[in-house]
């Protein structure tokens, strides 16, 4: 497979819309040609009808004018629609493709990139590449429009035609040259303006924090100062741009005077007709249109190319992990870590007996993170292996590994949707966007009553519902459901932000338990819950995971006390193993880490 480059991303995006782009190019050309014909026909009407007084000629040429308008109007209407559809659809396809790449089981696309930056690639950059599908037909039409104008003019008069055709780009080039220093000055100011534009959203994003320390006034003042600086900058920029526009206008007018001078003299000498003179003057004005359009198209193409490069970089990110062997047969859940070196872990050996609840304590929290990343197949280890039932995880299909070994990370996210959809994956049909579930109608017609408790509000009972109930109870998330209007079918806001930290943590734990994986790894699952709930969770997890392998990476004494075995990792290597009681009694380092 050839290297994925920006150019290839762009070509593929355009190829996907080839039909629409071609249609749009044809129709846009018709539109441009029509626009070019209007001044020509005006000239003919003056020449053949107004000048001669012939009614039949007037009617004939007004009829032609009508046909020209009909053509330009319809071709614009449908050409623009095809072009816009191509742009939007191309952007959409890229957006989905980027999301697909980011979510790929092998990971890698989100390594070292901020979510906000990635999302902006999927929106702004995808949109800009899409824009190429819109501007390309316009560029074609602009060039053809120029050609049509040129032919029409040259047929009327060779010298006048040449003057207009060569003079117009020359005139535009001159105006551009004169205006360039002004434009450059305006670009410098743009940066300062962009800064203020982002500042408002940033401050609003931190509203809770600002309010917490009463910094609303200071924030407003800081924004005001930035806004005033931006105002000065924009006014400077606008002044530069105004003089740029004014220059363009003046140069354009001067050029028109030259055309009138040459054309008028030719007409006075009888070399050309009055109609030709009028057409030439009209054309001198018309040509500015397609020419400035080409300049704009060129700018959009440059931006599109830049965006395509950024998209290609994301799509071509190296996979974080590999492996494609299937994992066959029933999983017993025996884990073995051998010589593992990664992110502070040094030559770590560790065994997890199948069916046990095992605690892992790391003296350095960063080592726990490293272990979680490796078990979750987010990273490949620098060296060493982790095996599940004797199979090296690095050789297995990551998807298969995760089906057998679920890692519930400490910073796992919740998603917008109902509590039920968060805990159980929604129905297999993955195409549905989250929607309001209809709560079951009761006899009284009241759909949600808090008194019903969380679980009775659930739709018809099924196997998944008993799983849901068990997971919610074991994680203490049943209490969360009880606080939601609608119980388990109550809605959570984006990222579960409508819940408190402790509530989010319990829902995330319920979700991990409900996945019913042969091996479950929990990373600090109870940091944000109170002591009573934590004890309830410990008992619930123990009961629900009875007979299946569960690894808890934590420093919480309540969780560790419930473990069959505890491994203590200090300085990145296994230092001691035993029960919590034994380790507390015998190992100073362990005691210091767990019982601060």
């Amino acid at each position: 497979m050839p290297q994925l480059t920006g150019g290839r991303v762009l070509r593929e995006a355009l190829r996907g819309q080839a039909g629409r782009i071609t249609g749009s190019a044809l129709l846009s050309t018709g539109h441009q040609a029509g626009e070019a014909m209007v001044p020509v026909v005006i000239g003919v009407v003056v020449d053949r009808a107004v000048g001669t007084g012939s009614s039949s000629q007037l009617l004939l040429w007004l009829g032609v004018l009508g046909a020209v308008f009909l053509t330009l109007s319809f071709s614009f209407r449908f050409g623009a629609r095809l072009g816009e559809r191509a742009a939007e659809q191309a952007g959409h396809v890229l957006r989905v493709r980027l999301t697909d790449r980011v979510l790929d089981a092998c990971g890698g696309a989100d390594t070292g990139r901020l979510p906000g930056a990635l999302a902006s690639v999927a929106t702004s950059d995808a949109g800009r590449v899409g824009m190429v599908a819109l501007v390309l037909p316009l560029g074609v039409a602009g060039i053809l429009g120029l050609a049509v104008g040129a032919v029409a003019l040259l047929r009327v008069s060779l010298p006048l035609g040449l003057l207009v055709l060569l003079g117009t780009p020359l005139m535009m080039g001159l105006a551009h040259l004169l205006g360039r220093p002004l434009q450059r000055r305006s670009e410098v100011e743009q940066d300062r303006i962009a800064h203020t534009a982002g500042l408002a959203a940033d401050m609003v994003g931190g509203l809770r924090v600002l309010k917490g320390i009463g910094a609303e006034r200071a924030a407003a003042e800081r924004y005001r100062l930035s806004s005033r600086a931006a105002l000065t900058a924009t006014v400077h920029a606008a002044r530069a741009k105004s003089w740029h526009d004014g220059t363009l206008l003046a140069v354009n007018g001067l050029f028109l005077a030259v055309v009138a001078l040459v054309g008028g003299r030719l007409a006075a000498d009888g070399a050309i007709s009055i109609g030709a003179l009028i057409a030439a003057v009209g054309m001198a004005q018309y040509l500015i249109g397609p020419l400035s359009m080409l300049v704009w198209v060129n700018g959009e193409l440059a931006q599109g190319r830049g965006s395509a490069v950024r998209i290609a970089e994301v799509l071509a990110s190296p996979a974080a992990v590999g492996g494609d062997a299937p994992l066959t047969g029933p999983i017993t859940g025996r884990l073995a870590v051998r010589g593992l070196t990664h992110g502070g872990l040094r030559d770590l050996d560790l065994d997890v007996t199948a069916g046990q609840l095992v605690g892992v304590v790391t003296a350095d929290p960063a080592h726990a993170e490293a272990l979680v990343d490796l078990l979750g197949r987010e990273r490949e280890p620098d060296s060493g292996t982790i095996t599940l039932d004797g199979h090296d995880l690095s050789t297995l299909d990551p998807e298969a590994v995760r089906a057998a070994l679920l890692v519930a990370a400490h910073d796992a996210e919740l998603f917008e949707g109902t509590l039920r959809d968060n805990v159980l994956a929604p129905a297999a049909d993955g195409s549905t966007v989250p929607r309001q579930r209809t709560a079951p109608a009761t006899l009284t017609g009241q759909a949600d009553t808090a008194a019903d408790g969380p679980l009775t509000a659930a739709p018809a009972a099924s196997g998944t519902d008993s799983l849901l109930g068990a997971a919610l109870a074991a994680s203490g998330a049943d209490e969360v459901a009880a606080t939601l209007a609608g119980g388990v079918d109550g809605a959570l806001a984006e990222r579960g932000r409508s819940l408190s930290g402790g509530q989010r943590q319990r829902v995330a734990l319920a979700r991990a338990l409900a996945a019913d994986a042969p091996v479950l790894v929990l990373h600090e699952p109870t940091t944000a819950v109170d002591a009573v709930t934590e004890l309830r969770i410990v008992n619930g997890v123990r009961r629900l995971r009875e007979g299946r392998t569960t690894v808890v990476i934590t420093t919480s004494p309540a969780l560790l006390a419930a473990a069959d075995t505890v491994h203590f990792v200090a300085d990145g290597a296994l230092t001691a193993s035993g029960t919590h009681e034994q380790l507390v009694r015998e190992h100073t380092g362990y005691r210091a880490t767990v019982l601060a």
């Binding site: 979510l103 999927a122 408002a200 009463g214 609303e216 606008a238 009138a260 009055i274 995760r402």
Partner: protein, 590 residues
């Protein structure tokens, strides 16, 4: 679940107009000068067509070629004059628009920052953010590019019609035959575009939010193998946005098709009028030519002006959302702002419910003497965070009162130093330098004071190790801080804000167990010398407090010192302490 949200208010058309008028009033002379200069520029430019007509007449009357020179020199002079006047006029209009825009965005942000948090949360975090981002940008872009274009186009249209009338009034009458079609088109379009744009905006916002959620949660999605589901969500929301955009495009293209019809009607009428008037000898061919050129030159300004209705509508949709927030009535100022007598904190018979039928706090009374520290303990959902929020003034209690130094929370002098500060587990780092971030808490702090605050919460070490120290750009797009560092930064802000009362809501939760121990030391240092209310889930924090209050289902079930409560037989706190540390005591004993 957009349906369930209670969006922030949007202004009515009348309110928006009033807001615009208020912005323009102090700038009316600037507006008048700008309009005058642009009018002059346009008027001068209008002489071009009759001069060209004059050239045509010279040719038809068989004048010598040299006679062409005079009108051509006039054309050149006009070109320079109208270019200069246009540039100056546009500069004036830009000063007008940008000044008004700056005032509008400052008023918006000033008001937005003082919105009650509860209201912002009910609307969903995206609502206010999209107003501060997209909507402000939409209005700015119209002011920046739309306003000058609109002014020029309207002037060109008006003066061209006048020019036609000067040639012969019948030319103007013919040109105006296009107007009914144009007016109808604008009316037809206006009624459809605004609601469509509003829906499109919402769909684009939903798409953005979904992308952020899915991409931000990518490791979670992978771990749970929910790729298909999330791909489906993103695809669905993106396609919704695309489809709505296309409906907008269809509308716009039909709009322009109708304007083409108007162009044809007007142009044919002007040409036919010229034909008749020339045949009856009332005008010259040159005048007829000028009229036709005039009308043809109207195509562009008419399209620009009417096409801007598109942008103006979009900006109007954005403007009503901005004005809706900016013009929210100010909360009633306390009748007599008072300064707290001391740093004591009293909550008397406080009850609260977010939704009418779901009370979360019942009749809670707590007194914290100045300088003391009270820990709130209880199961998650017992109402601890709610109480913390009420004390910090984030929400108004449904009933009961909260007083600081004897002054009701609502009667505190809002201009003075903040009496109560709240720090939650939510960490946020503002875009800008570290120093700017800290100075939000105390704008006039010196660098030494900033460093001292960082030192106090144990953050000086990493802060000075940053590439440019206090001047390092942090936050969005800058240097990334860890959760624990960000929380220490929040505590340093607390030290700088120096409130008499500090409320800490699980301020150590995000850091995980190991980080929590470091943060506990930072918290203790930040709280030194203040009255403190702490929501604690780690009982070590409770044990260090002067008093512990146990909440259960929104009620105080126990209150006393750590030692008292620990010894209470069958007490809730005693049970908690055993659950949390019982093993530990046993471990130690063993």
């Amino acid at each position: 679940m957009t349906e369930q949200r209670e969006l922030l208010p949007t202004a009515t058309g009348r309110q928006a107009v009033a807001a615009l008028r208020a912005l323009l009033r102090p700038r009316r002379w600037l507006a008048a000068a700008g309009l005058f200069v642009l009018t002059a520029a346009t008027a001068v430019g209008l002489a071009v067509a009759p001069l060209l007509g004059h050239v045509v007449d010279l040719v038809t009357t068989g004048a010598p070629a040299s006679a062409i020179t005079t009108p051509v020199v006039a054309l050149a002079v006009i070109a320079v004059l109208s270019g200069a006047a246009t540039a100056y006029g546009l500069t004036l209009i830009a000063r007008l628009g940008e000044g008004a825009l700056a005032e509008l965005r400052e008023r918006f942000l000033n008001r937005a920052l003082r919105l009650p948090l509860g209201q912002v949360e009910r609307a969903g975090s995206g609502d206010l953010t999209s107003r501060a981002g997209n909507d402000l940008n939409a209005v700015a872009s119209v002011v920046r590019s739309g306003l000058p274009e609109l002014a020029r186009s309207l002037l060109a249209i008006g003066l061209t019609l006048a020019g036609l009338a000067v040639l012969d009034w019948r030319f103007m009458a013919a040109a105006l035959l296009a107007a009914p079609v144009q007016l109808y088109t604008v009316w037809w379009y206006g009624g459809r575009a605004l609601p469509l744009y509003a829906r499109q905006r919402i769909a684009v916002g939903a798409q953005q939010q979904q992308l952020l959620e899915t991409i931000g949660g990518a490791p979670t999605v992978r771990a749970l193998r929910r790729r298909e589901e999330h791909l489906g969500r993103v695809t669905g929301r993106s396609q919704d946005a695309v489809d709505l955009t296309m409906r907008g495009v269809n509308l716009v293209t039909r709009f322009y098709a109708r304007l083409n019809l108007a162009e044809f009607i007007g142009l044919s009428a002007v040409l036919a009028t010229g034909f008749l008037l020339v045949r009856s000898g009332e005008v010259t061919i040159g005048a007829a030519t000028a009229a036709a050129l005039y009308f043809h030159n109207l195509f562009t300004p008419v399209n620009i002006a009417l096409g801007l209705i598109d942008d103006v509508q979009a900006a109007t949709a954005a403007l009503v959302r901005i004005v809706g927030v900016a013009d929210l009535p100010e909360p009633a100022a306390p009748p007599a702002a008072r300064t707290p007598a001391d740093a004591s904190l009293h909550a008397d018979a406080v009850s609260h419910s977010y939704t009418a039928d779901r009370p979360v706090l019942h009749d809670v009374t707590i007194a914290v003497p100045a300088g003391q520290r009270v820990a709130l303990v209880g199961a998650s959902g017992a109402g601890k965070s709610t109480l913390a929020g009420l004390v910090a003034g984030v929400h108004q209690p449904t009933s009961g009162s909260i007083r600081v130094g004897g002054v009701g929370i609502g009667d505190l002098d809002p201009s003075g130093r903040r009496a109560v500060a709240l720090i939650t587990q939510e960490v946020y780092v503002f875009a800008g330098t570290l120093a700017e971030d800290l100075r939000l808490a105390r704008p006039d702090a010196t660098d030494a004071e900033l460093t001292a605050a960082l030192e106090r919460v144990g953050a000086a070490e990493w802060a000075t190790a940053l590439p440019e120290g206090l001047s390092t750009v942090v936050g969005e797009g800058g240097h990334r801080l860890t959760a624990a560092q960000a929380q220490q930064l929040a505590l340093a802000r607390l030290v700088l804000a120096d409130p008499a009362v500090a409320v800490l809501d699980e301020a150590t939760a995000e850091a995980g167990s190991a980080g929590a121990r470091v943060l506990e030391a930072s918290v203790a240092a930040a709280l030194h010398g203040r009255t403190g209310l702490l929501v604690a889930h780690r009982l070590t924090q409770a044990a260090l407090a002067d008093r512990v209050v146990v909440l259960d289902e929104g009620r105080i079930v126990e209150s006393g010192s750590h030692d008292e409560l620990r010894e209470t037989p069958d007490g809730r706190y005693a049970e908690l302490w055993r659950a949390w540390s019982g093993r530990r005591d046993a471990d130690r004993a063993a």
